[in-house]
C-alpha cells in the first residue's frame, strides 16, 4: 500500500505527534508498505529518507502561544506536488484542524483521507470564526481517529461527527528490556517532562515533596526534562534541595533506563493532556505509576486498575499516596504486574494493525488519492467547477 502521512509540526522540534508519526512510518515500512511523510522542516535539516520537507514553518502567534505553522501559497504548492508525485492509496493527516499542513492537505486532496485528532483543545475563538471553512475541508475526511475516548468526546462536541478510538503506540519491548541503572535505584521517584511548563505539574510535586521526605527521608526525586533547574526548586526549603537530582534532557535509551530504575513514577500533570504516552512508557518499563486523575490519564490507567490516581493539583493527596506506595513493596509489585499486562494493547503491533484496518476499510473499492481539482484548480478558484 502507498501511504502518505502529513505531519503538521516541525520535524526538527521533538514532540509527541512527531514521534508518533516517526514510529508509525517506520512500523509500516518494516511491514513492506511504501510510506512518505510530508513535514515542515528547515531545508538544511537532515531528514530520514521517507520524509519530504514542506518548507520551513513560520512562527506566528496562534491560540495564546507562538506556534510554528505552514501556510500560504508556497506551502500549498508543495502539498499539491507531494500529492501528485506520491500517487498514494491513502493519506493520513494528523491534526487536521491546526492551520498548518494538515488543513492544507485536507483542502488540496481528494480520495481516501484518514485523520488523527491528537489534542483535545477547548474550542478556540478562531475555530468558531473559521467553522464553515474548516467544516468544508473536514468533510472530505473519510475516517477519523481519536487517540483517546476523551479526545473523541471533544471532537464530537466541537466538530460533530464521530471517530474511532485508536490509542498512541509505544514500543513496549524497548522499555521492558532496558537495563536499570544502579545509581537511579533505591527509594527513587521519577518525573519526566518540561520543568518550566506548569501544566506538566512539577510545582505540585515540589509542594508534596517536603511531606514525602518527612516520612521517608531517604527518598530521591529524579527529574528529566529541560527548563530552569534553580527556579524549579525555589519553593523547597534549602536543606531539601539536595534530594532533587536534575538529569536534563535525556536520550530515549536513558529515558527507558530511568523508568526501569525508579520505584515510583509520578505524573502530576494539571491539564492539557489528551492521552498520556509517558504513562504507557512507564508501565512498559514496569514502573508503578501514580498520576493525577485527569480524564485522559484515568483512561490510560484503566480507571486506576493499572496505576494509582490522586486528586488533580492536590499536593497532600499526592504526598499521602506516594508515601503509602513507597512503603508497600507488595502493592508496587502488584501495580508492576498489572501495568505490564495492561500496556500490551498500546504496543505498536496492536495499534499499527488497527490503523492499517482503518486504511483498508476506507480504501476498499475506492480510487487513489489525487489532487482535488474542484478546490485547487483554476476553474474552482473562479468558482466554475461543480462536477
Amino acid at each position: 500500500m502507498r501511504i502518505g502521512i502529513v505531519c503538521p509540526y516541525s520535524w526538527d522540534v521533538p514532540g509527541g505527534v512527531q514521534f508518533h508519526i516517526r514510529d508509525l512510518a517506520e512500523y509500516f515500512i518494516r511491514l513492506g508498505h511504501e510510506v512518505s511523510v510530508l513535514a515542515p522542516a528547515d531545508d538544511d535539516t537532515p531528514l530520514p529518507p521517507y520524509v519530504v520537507s514542506a518548507g520551513r514553518a513560520v512562527p506566528v502567534p496562534y491560540n495564546g502561544s507562538v506556534a510554528r505553522l505552514n501556510f500560504g501559497f508556497l506551502s500549498a504548492a508543495r502539498v499539491r506536488r507531494w500529492l501528485h508525485d506520491g500517487a498514494f492509496d491513502v493519506i493520513h493527516i494528523h491534526e487536521p484542524t491546526s492551520p498548518s499542513l494538515g488543513l492544507l492537505a485536507c483542502w488540496a486532496a481528494q480520495g481516501p483521507i484518514v485523520a488523527t485528532f491528537h489534542t483535545s483543545n477547548p474550542r478556540s475563538r478562531a475555530m468558531i470564526a473559521a467553522y464553515s471553512i474548516l467544516q468544508a475541508a473536514l468533510e472530505k475526511i473519510s475516517a477519523r481517529i481519536a487517540v483517546s475516548e476523551y479526545a473523541r468526546r471533544t471532537l464530537v462536541e466541537h466538530l460533530g461527527g464521530d471517530a474511532v478510538v485508536i490509542p498512541n503506540g509505544v514500543d513496549v519491548d524497548f522499555f521492558a528490556k532496558a537495563e536499570p541503572k544502579a545509581e537511579w535505584q533505591g527509594d527513587t521517584i521519577g518525573f519526566i517532562g518540561r520543568i518550566d511548563e506548569p501544566r506538566k505539574g512539577l510545582p505540585v510535586l515540589m509542594r508534596a515533596l517536603p511531606k514525602i521526605l518527612a516520612e521517608r527521608p531517604g527518598t530521591r526525586l529524579l527529574v528529566a526534562g529541560r527548563g530552569d533547574e534553580e527556579e524549579a526548586v525555589e519553593s523547597l526549603p534549602k536543606e531539601l534541595r539536595a534530594r532533587v537530582e536534575f538529569l536534563g534532557m535525556v536520550s530515549d535509551e536513558d529515558k527507558a533506563r530511568l523508568l526501569r530504575s525508579v520505584d515510583l513514577y509520578v505524573a502530576p500533570n494539571t491539564g492539557g493532556e489528551s492521552f498520556g504516552i509517558i504513562l504507557v512508557e512507564a508501565m512498559s518499563a514496569g514502573a508503578p505509576v501514580l498520576a493525577s486523575d485527569l480524564d485522559a490519564f484515568a483512561q490510560v490507567l484503566d480507571q486506576g486498575a493499572a496505576g494509582e490516581l490522586f486528586a488533580n493539583e492536590d499536593a497532600d493527596a499526592l504526598a499521602e499516596a506516594a508515601v503509602r506506595l513507597l512503603g508497600d513493596p507488595e502493592r508496587r509489585a502488584e501495580l508492576r504486574e498489572r501495568g505490564s499486562a495492561h500496556v500490551r494493547r498500546f504496543d505498536w503491533s496492536t495499534v499499527g494493525a488497527d490503523i492499517l484496518s482503518v486504511y483498508e476499510t476506507v480504501t476498499d473499492g475506492t480510487t487513489a488519492v489525487a489532487a482535488d481539482e474542484k478546490t485547487t484548480g483554476l476553474r474552482a478558484r473562479l468558482g466554475l467547477a461543480r462536477d
Binding site: 472530505k140 475516517a143 477519523r144 461527527g161 464521530d162 474511532v164 476499510t361 468558482g383 461543480r386
Partner: protein, 183 residues
C-alpha cells in the same frame, strides 16, 4: 442615470456571488453523497465478510453442535435479510457471536483446531472492522444531514433528488473474549 447603472452593477455582482456560493455548496454536498456511497459499500463489505467467516466457522465442526446451529442461523439470516430488516438481523448476529464467544476458553478451543488460528484471526478482524466501518458511514451521514438541513440547501433544493441519508444503526459490540488482547 449613473446611479441606476451602479445599482444594477452592484445587484449583478451580488447575484453572481450568491450563485458561486450556491454552486460551491452543491459541490460540497455532491462530494458528501459520494462519500456516503463509498462508506456504505465498505460497511456492506465488512458485514458480509463477518457473516461469511461466521458461517464458515459454524459449518467447520470446530464448535459444538448447538453453538454451530445458533451461529449458522444468525449468519444466514443476516445475509438474507431484506434492507428493512438488515439492522435487526446484523444486531442478532452480533448477539449470537457474543453468546458463543463469551468465554476465552471457547476462543482457545477454536485456535487449537486445525486451521483454527487463521479462522480466529479472521473473525477477530471482522468483528473489529464492522464497528469501524459503521462509525465512518454514520459520520458521513451526519455531515451530509447537517449540511442538508441548512436553509440555503433546502430553499434552493441543492440536494436534488438524492434520498435523505440514513444512518445504519445496529448493535456491533464485539465479543469480549475475541478482542481483548491485553490478556
Amino acid at each position: 442615470m449613473t446611479a441606476t447603472l451602479i445599482w444594477t452593477l452592484v445587484a449583478v455582482v451580488v447575484l453572481v456571488a450568491i450563485g458561486l456560493y450556491l454552486s460551491w455548496t452543491a459541490g460540497r454536498l455532491d462530494r458528501l453523497h459520494a462519500r456516503i456511497d463509498a462508506t456504505r459499500a465498505a460497511l456492506d463489505a465488512q458485514l458480509l465478510r463477518r457473516a461469511s467467516v461466521t458461517q464458515e466457522l459454524a459449518t467447520s465442526g470446530v464448535l459444538d453442535p448447538a453453538a454451530s446451529i445458533v451461529l449458522y442461523e444468525a449468519a444466514h439470516a443476516a445475509r438474507q435479510a431484506e434492507e428493512e430488516q438488515r439492522e435487526v438481523a446484523e444486531s442478532e448476529l452480533s448477539q449470537a457471536l457474543r453468546a458463543v464467544f463469551a468465554e476465552p476458553q471457547q476462543v482457545e478451543a477454536v485456535r487449537e483446531a486445525p486451521g483454527g488460528v487463521a479462522a480466529a484471526r479472521e473473525l477477530t478482524e471482522a468483528v473489529r472492522r464492522v464497528p469501524m466501518a459503521r462509525r465512518f458511514h454514520n459520520d458521513a451521514v451526519g455531515a451530509a444531514r447537517r449540511l442538508r438541513e441548512h436553509r440555503k440547501v433546502r430553499w434552493f433544493r441543492l440536494a436534488g433528488h438524492a434520498p435523505f441519508p440514513m444512518a445504519f444503526e445496529m448493535d456491533d459490540e464485539p465479543p469480549a473474549a475475541l478482542v481483548d488482547r491485553a490478556a
